[in-house]
């Protein structure tokens, strides 16, 4: 089901994101990357990052840090060592991402690698990644615990796990407004723009199925992460969970 949904939405994914979130998703991803604090020479894995939004932001953040760090001769050689892996289960999403990379001028960048893979069974070695992000992807996996366990496995000691995901709103009046928006506006919008009402119906229902912030935080802690925290954006519409592997 998930595979079919994303094959169908791939081409209109970014447009629909912009419409549904009124462009806010860009700010959310900016916030995610700033919380990550990327550094030159970093090995990073972005899972379910098909169209590459998060990966591009990380790369751009590192190149700007690099300009500052040019003062320090030790770091100069590290820029080449930066490796960002974008992993997605769906090849269509990866193709869209590769296209975007070329448009942004990052097509030839050796730091960016596109990998087709399953978040529940990653092909990367243990203790190999400094950072792991999953933006709007963990909602769609079958077994959240497996994904978290894999994330814990591939991270190095001191590595950070960050998850950006649509989450639960508890604020009284805002909750009703949000529910109305989700069920009465988004599916017809999907019908109009992408010609696909069902996928977006699936989307808003899957948001409600996903565990709330506290529960998800405890699941992350169960996987072995420490210093598990979350930050609500827009009153809980989106939450960024973070954990540290020690």
């Amino acid at each position: 089901m998930v595979g079919k949904v994303f094959s169908k939405v791939a081409s209109n994914y970014d447009l629909m994101n912009d419409l549904m979130s009124a462009g806010l998703h860009r700010l959310w991803k900016d916030r995610l990357v700033s919380k990550l604090s990327p550094f030159p020479g970093m090995k990073h894995l972005d899972v379910a990052g098909g169209t590459g939004d998060v990966a591009f932001r990380i790369l751009e953040s590192i190149s700007s840090i690099r300009r500052r760090a040019l003062q320090d001769p030790v770091n100069d050689g590290l820029q080449e060592e930066t490796q960002i892996y974008v992993c997605d289960i769906n090849p269509n999403m990866l193709n869209v991402g590769k296209k975007h990379a070329i448009e942004r001028g990052l097509g030839e960048d050796k730091s960016l690698t596109w990998v087709e893979g399953d978040a529940e069974a990653l092909s990367f070695g243990d203790n190999s990644m400094d950072g792991y992000t999953i933006a709007f992807g963990i909602r769609n996996v079958t077994h959240i615990e497996k994904v978290l366990a894999e994330a814990y496995r591939v991270l190095k000691r001191g590595g950070r796990f960050l998850c950006l995901e649509l989450s639960h709103v508890e604020i009284p009046v805002f909750k009703e407004l949000y529910d109305f928006y989700s069920f009465s506006v988004i599916p017809p919008l999907g019908e109009l723009v992408a010609g696909d009402r069902e996928s977006y119906q699936y989307l808003v229902e899957s948001i409600r199925q996903f565990p709330p912030q506290e529960k998800f935080a405890s699941m992350i802690a169960d996987a072995g992460f420490q210093k598990v925290e979350y930050e609500n954006l827009v009153g809980g519409v989106v939450a960024i969970h973070s954990g540290l592997k020690i």
């Binding site: 916030r31 001191g158 506290e214 169960d222 609500n232």
Partner: protein, 301 residues
């Protein structure tokens, strides 16, 4: 656990709303000397309140620690609670300790922490887990210096035979000498401490420092006077610190002379204030009687 509760009572929690309405619970942790030998100002997240359904806790808590503290069944080794919690804080402290060696080259910055992390054998991603990155390393340094000062006080016999003004002078000098290796980068540290987000923690650290120095100088008073004394000492310390930034004499000789002068001024001021009080009383008494006589004569008319 009691340590955290005590700190909460003393210093309070600050709930910070991030842009867009997010909330992170932050406890400025200042472990007291009595109960621990290490100072740290790292964030200490609230334990996950599965067993305790306190309404205020569950609505404001936004963090959890590892599984042994968050198991819903309430089983599992409770005695392990401290260990996994302390682990990441220890790692963070280790990283910051290693970073201090890089400050002279890289300044009080993320780069120093990244270099420190590499030295400590931990992924530099850990820099993202410090809520206020440059401030973390500065605050760690301040705590570290305070701890070293306390160690010096506890072990030093040299302070026994000094009069208070000399004692204070010596202690401030010992403390400022700890900053001497990094003095070229110290202005950056001061500006970081003055940043609105960091002011409250740096103020607390300085208050503790001043308290410690007065305590060692033999003044255990807890009356109103003590606030005045601590404020004055705080002023002496800060001005000397700033003087030291531009002092190019060998081994900061000029700074110590400046310090001695200021301490002398402060003690002289105390005497002067007392004398002024007696003078005012005398004048008041004298004036009062002649004024009374004048007023009564006026009223008689």
């Amino acid at each position: 656990m009691y340590r955290t509760a005590a700190n909460r009572l003393l210093y309070g929690a600050s709930l910070i709303n991030n842009s867009g309405g997010g909330h992170l619970l932050r406890f400025p942790i200042l472990r007291t000397v009595i109960s621990s030998s290490r100072f740290s100002t790292t964030v200490d997240p609230q334990t996950f309140p599965n067993q305790d359904p306190g309404p205020s806790d569950s609505s404001t808590t936004s963090s959890a620690t590892s599984s042994s503290t968050s198991s819903t069944a309430g089983d599992g080794p409770r005695h392990e609670r401290k260990n996994p919690r302390a682990e990441y804080e220890e790692e963070q402290a280790r990283v910051l300790q290693a970073s201090l060696r890089h400050v002279i080259r890289l300044g009080w910055s993320e780069e120093a922490i990244i270099a420190g992390a590499k030295e400590a054998g931990v992924s530099p991603s850990i820099v993202g887990s410090f809520p206020r990155k440059e401030a973390a390393i500065v605050e760690f340094f301040m705590d570290d210096c305070l701890q070293r000062l306390i160690d010096r006080i506890d072990s030093g016999e040299e302070l026994q035979n000094l009069i208070p003004s000399q004692c204070i002078s010596k202690l401030v000098r010992i403390r400022l000498e700890m900053q001497a290796p990094n003095i070229s980068k110290w202005p950056q540290a001061l500006s970081i401490q003055a940043h609105p987000l960091n002011v409250s923690t740096s103020f607390k650290q300085r208050a503790m420092l001043v308290d410690e120095i007065w305590h060692a100088a033999g003044d255990g008073a807890s009356d109103v006077d003590c606030y005045v004394k601590r404020t004055i000492l705080g002023g002496i310390y800060s001005t000397t610190e700033i003087y030291m930034l531009t002092d190019s004499s060998s081994e900061f000789r000029d700074t110590w002379l400046f310090l001695d002068d200021r301490v002398k001024d402060a003690f002289d001021l105390k005497k002067t204030v007392q004398e002024a009080k007696y003078l005012a009383e005398a004048v008041g008494a004298g004036m009062g009687s002649s004024l009374q006589g004048f007023v009564s004569r006026v009223l008689q008319r």
